[in-house]
């Protein structure tokens, strides 16, 4: 075995979709890269009773080769085990056949393994240490100024000179306006096809509730936020509030990025569970940390990153589904290019974590209380009238469906609270 090349990633997705057609959909991303490549993702799920939609993306940074390989192996494992009716074992971490089936039946999993194919191709064939995409638009014809850092191009505090404190800008970690920099953030948020494609997935699947962006290296699981320390006491102190412009990105000062206590607890618990699953494979758990911090040492404020943007959407527009964004930095060795033999071990580690993540994303609500009971009946009729292959997974009714789910969820919470109160008495 070897690392997947760009062509093989696309062929693998095509093969998985054609081999398991009842539980997959091949998704064609609409925005072509600067070199004219069209990307694909795969949707996995039987649609029996999906309670959540989750998204895995990878390959943003070209030289971090193993990410797409992790994603393809994960999708292939999940589908093959489901088809055979078996469980999955990664070293010391095992999942039962029932757990695998529950992922297929109760989740909608979208895998977009290689968001930056131009960069990967260049890294795998020409200059291995390449990080950015290969868009020459800002280079002025200078080959050393080609490319944009895709993971600084999302619309989260993208305008870092305005949003962050001068002390944070001086540290050189946020992003750069210089096309020659590896951190060049582009000419505008979502100026790049690669980030536009990720945004498009969120638009097509508005119910995405969790996302992991897979990078390397370090052996870390990172949760929001990446711009400043988390705080849960002041809701008005947040990235949407321009009154705090010029004050973000510095530790132990006034500013902290708001996240509710419940959300913080959720993202930490999810991260810790993933780390435990990874650690059980061969005894090497990943470190869990807030994105803003380098575990045990210093801070690393960032702007325009995918996980923060994914998390921020609901804060910017509360009508959008709440999403929790994470980042995995695979490989505990400080090396972009492990041997393939070592990469196989890393794939087992991370895929064990991804399966655990999926299981944690399945709603624990009883079926009768779940909005999916209502949705199942609704979809069976609507999908006849509005075939999903023509109208997309939610058709024109996605918004209505979301509103109805919101009402049902509110009622459900009230019922559960009432039952708890009665039980407490």
């Amino acid at each position: 075995m070897t690392f997947l090349n760009v062509t093989e990633i696309e062929s693998a997705l095509t093969a998985l979709a054609s081999t398991y057609p009842t539980v997959t959909t091949l998704i064609t991303l609409p925005f072509l890269t600067a070199e004219g490549r069209q990307s694909h993702a795969i949707r996995i799920g039987s649609g029996v009773c999906p309670t959540n939609t989750i998204l895995f993306i990878s390959g943003a940074h070209a030289r971090e080769w193993g990410g797409p390989d992790i994603c393809i192996n994960f999708a292939a494992d999940l589908l093959e085990a489901w088809n055979l009716g078996t469980g999955l074992t990664y070293g010391g971490t095992s999942y039962s056949a029932a757990q695998i089936k529950s992922i297929i039946d109760r989740l909608e999993v979208i895998v977009f393994p290689d968001i930056n194919p131009d960069g990967r191709y260049y890294s795998q064939t020409t200059y291995a240490m390449w990080r950015k995409n290969r868009n020459p638009a800002s280079s002025g014809g200078d080959a050393t100024k080609i490319g944009i850092d895709v993971n600084r191009n999302y619309d989260f505090l993208w305008d870092f000179p305005v949003a962050f404190a001068s002390a944070a800008q001086g540290a050189g970690t946020l992003a750069s306006n210089d096309p020659a920099s590896d951190l060049f953030h582009g000419t505008a948020p979502f100026s790049e096809a690669e980030s536009k494609n990720v945004r498009w997935l969120f638009e097509q699947f508005p119910g995405i509730s969790e996302m992991i962006d897979i990078h390397s290296y370090g052996g870390d699981i990172l949760y929001p936020w990446g711009d400043d320390e988390d705080q849960s006491s002041n809701t008005g102190m947040n990235f949407t509030n321009s009154a705090w412009n010029g004050q973000r990105g510095v530790k132990n000062d006034t500013y902290g990025e708001y996240i509710s206590t419940i959300e913080l607890s959720n993202v930490q618990a999810t991260s810790n569970a993933m780390s435990a699953a990874i650690g059980a494979v061969r005894g090497q758990p990943y470190a869990v940390a807030q994105g803003f911090f380098i575990p045990g040492y210093y801070t690393y404020p960032t702007s325009g990153g995918s996980e923060d943007w994914a998390t921020s959407r609901h804060y910017v527009d509360p009508t959008k589904h709440q999403c929790r964004g994470y980042c995995i930095e695979f490989n505990k060795v400080h090396d972009f290019f492990p041997t393939w033999t070592e990469m196989e071990k890393i794939i087992l580690d991370v895929d064990a974590g991804l399966v655990n993540f999926c299981l944690g994303s399945i709603s624990k609500r009883p079926y009768l209380f779940s909005p999916c009971w209502w949705r199942d009946h609704q979809y069976s009729i609507w999908h006849r009238v509005f075939p999903p292959e023509l109208w997309g997974p939610y058709g024109p009714w996605g918004k209505i469906n979301e509103e109805v789910e919101s009402v049902v969820t509110t009622i459900e919470k009230a019922v559960v609270k009432a039952i708890d109160a009665i039980a407490g008495d």
């Binding site: 693998a12 009842t22 292939a76 085990a81 095992s94 240490m129 870390d220 290019f337």
Partner: protein
């Protein structure tokens, strides 16, 4: 300090394309305070995000990637730099471990994951 890696750009073996010069893995001894000033002075390539190894003397070693020219600048500025392998060369070698052609034949051959399919083979899903 200018972005590293631009001076010394070279052409590929077939002279078709200009590529940046080789980057070496370096470990730079820093304290919390000197790390901050290091990143301010030098536009260092610290990977996806910085990582450190703790040293016994209370300092830590930051892993970064630098050209020979940047390494000289770091040493000239008084930083203790341990130069490791040529990361670009390692990358070139690993390019030999990248798939050639298309092992999935345009979608006709399905990939199989590395996870072990375990347990009783029960009633699987219907793929068709």
């Amino acid at each position: 300090m200018p972005q590293d890696g631009k001076a010394g750009a070279r052409k590929t073996a077939d002279s078709s394309e200009i590529v940046p010069p080789d980057l070496f893995t370096v470990r730079i001894a820093v304290t919390r305070e000197s790390f901050e000033s290091l990143l301010k002075k030098f536009d260092l390539d610290v990977g996806c995000r910085p990582h450190f190894q703790q040293n016994t003397d209370g300092t830590a070693s930051l892993t970064a990637f630098a050209t020979k020219e940047r390494i000289r600048e770091l040493e000239g500025a008084g930083y203790k730099v341990e130069v490791g392998e040529n990361a670009s060369e390692v990358g070139r070698q690993r390019q030999g471990e990248v798939g050639k052609g298309d092992r999935f034949e345009g979608g006709r051959v399905v990939p199989r994951g590395l996870g072990e399919k375990t347990g009783e083979r029960g009633q699987g899903g219907s793929a068709e």
